[in-house]
């Protein structure tokens, strides 16, 4: 045939395939090494409960990294949003207080993001610096406002907000997993099928190209950071509402796992291309690793090393595919099955 390697090429085009492969392999190992845990539904339901905040942060960060920027301030937003919700819930005693707290928390996230956007786009401070400053500042403000104390919100359990966002469908399926799934689909369409997402990809690819093609680079960045703030606030709300407690350090510890999930998913650190599907599976991979390793019976001291190993493997796989080394390999494999070996099987080479 003319294109013997079309099947391998087709495989290469499936979004997030490498990370799905690694994820399946990992669960395969878990099922074999810890069958009592991993052949029952319970552990999977527990992942669906704990992974969504990490996943939602990862989805937002995927947009930011695709635009060639970074946001290090989301752990502070997770804490700030939780505090805003908790404070209003504690101090306002009306039926709509949970909803007011919910939307004001999102607004607080938007404000933090908007200010990040202004610093990056208008003043021109590199995002790694301005959002690092924002992380310190807003985390500090949250601790100050909360007096460093946690707030117990047992009464949240009885509210609509709790039921809608973190309730259990059919008595077992955590609602936040569906919200996270819905957000994945929605943001996939924003990134891949919307003008805003296309602008993000071109800005990350080459801001000068974006500018001469008439894209409002500064405006798009401000919008992007604002959305990242809102998304991070939503993740913080899920966390607070799920466990009915706000604590000032609730965002800390998310920074590196979320970044790991995004990069495992195949989003390029250099910007220009991002994968929502990859981030989705990357987040479940990172989020289920700890429980999985512990369940296999080996000491939990292994978790960090295994995480590093898997991240290195997944990203190496992404890079080789992304650079077309796989295309070359698949062409060679295809070549062996071609009856006429005189012609090069590589479609990428097109010099006359």
């Amino acid at each position: 045939m003319k294109r013997p390697n079309s099947f391998l090429k087709f495989l290469g085009r499936i979004e997030g395939l490498p990370v799905v492969g690694v994820l399946l392999l990992m669960f395969g190992i878990f099922v074999i090494t810890a069958p009592t845990v991993f052949t029952h539904l319970l552990i999977y339901m527990s992942f669906l409960q704990t992974v969504p905040p990490l996943l939602i942060l990862g989805l937002g960060l995927t947009l930011v990294i695709t635009a060639g920027e970074i946001d290090l301030s989301f752990p502070a937003v997770v804490a700030l949003a939780g505090f805003v919700f908790a404070w209003i819930f504690k101090h306002v005693h009306t039926p709509w207080a949970p909803w007011a707290g919910f939307f004001l928390a999102l607004a607080a996230g938007a404000l933090v993001g908007y200010i990040n956007g202004l610093f990056v786009a208008k003043i021109g401070v590199p995002s790694i610096i301005s959002t690092l400053a924002a992380q310190f500042f807003w985390y500090g403000i949250t601790i100050l406002l909360a007096n460093g104390l946690q707030l117990n919100l047992q009464e949240v359990e009885a509210t609509d907000v709790h039921t809608i966002f973190t309730g259990r469908l059919f008595g077992m399926l955590p609602a936040q997993a569906l919200w996270a799934l819905g957000l994945t689909v929605f943001l996939w369409f924003i990134l891949n099928r919307h003008k805003f997402g296309e602008a993000i990809m071109f800005i990350g690819d080459n801001p000068n190209v974006a500018r001469v093609m008439g894209i409002d680079v500064e405006g798009t960045k401000i919008k992007l950071f604002t959305w990242m703030g809102v998304i991070a606030a939503f993740a913080g709300l899920l966390l607070t509402i799920e466990i009915n407690v706000f604590f000032p350090t609730q965002g800390q510890g998310f920074l590196l796992p979320v970044m790991a999930a995004v990069f495992i998913g195949g989003t390029l650190i250099s910007g220009g291309l991002g994968s929502m599907v990859g981030t989705f599976f990357g987040s479940y991979l990172i989020g289920s690793l700890q429980a999985g390793v512990v369940a296999t019976g080996i000491t939990s001291y292994w978790v960090q090393s295994v995480m590093g190993l898997i991240m290195a493997a997944a990203v190496a796989l992404n890079v080789t595919i992304g650079e077309g080394r796989f295309a070359g390999l698949s062409a060679r494999i295809g070549h062996w099955f071609t009856p006429h070996p005189g012609q090069s099987g590589n479609d990428e080479a097109h010099s006359k």
């Binding site: 919307h194 190209v209 220009g272 010099s351």
Partner: protein, 261 residues
Amino acid sequence: MAALPQQYAVQMINIEKYFGLVCALKQINFEVGSNEIVGLIGDNGAGKSTMVKILTGVFPPTGGELYVAGRKVNFRNYNVTRAHEYGLETVYQDKSLGEKQVLWRNFFIGREITLPFGFINVRREKEIANEIMVNTIGFRGKGITVDSKVSVLSGGERQGVAIGRAMHFEAELIILDEPTVALSLKEVAKVMNFVNKIKEGGKACIYISHAIADVYEIADRFVIMDRGQIVANIVKRNITLKELDEFLLEYAHGLKDEGEA
């Protein structure tokens, strides 16, 4: 006010540009006919890029007037998008296409065909992108489709995509900024072929280049700039390539070497 001749695609009158106290352009009077290819020549820093950027709305001039197809441009609300609407398109040497992006996105970036709520009509964009590739710029086979990434294209092919895009959007004037830098002879020939399509299509072109031989081959008229001023305006039939080359030596030292390269 006197009516301006309609045959000009663009006309600049006394355009000046200062960056702080530095004068980048002084007293520029420049025009391009509606089906004319003008070669814009000058050394680095002569002001070519500054002039092009004013023309295409990247930034406004400090003073002077600009007419596009006889209409006076109001610089207060002039920008790249407005210039596109007026039919002015620029093909930059290395910043016309997003390299990691697929071709169909590159054709429509900034001017997407949208469904409600700003979502992109991907099917329609791909159909039209394919149409441009096959009919306007004559890409055939070779494994390049609308789903190919720009990074697999050769330098000449990239210029072709950018020129095809400009022609599709009914550009009246296409500005090519150093389109043949770092291209092999074969690729240069491809670009020349694309530029001829602009002329055949009845449109205008400003061709900016250091490669005098290329400019001489393709342009109807040469405008030579030096240190922010236009120093010569020569119609092709009045000068040979050798004369043009010698003339340039007086103004821009070092140009000759690159012209021969």
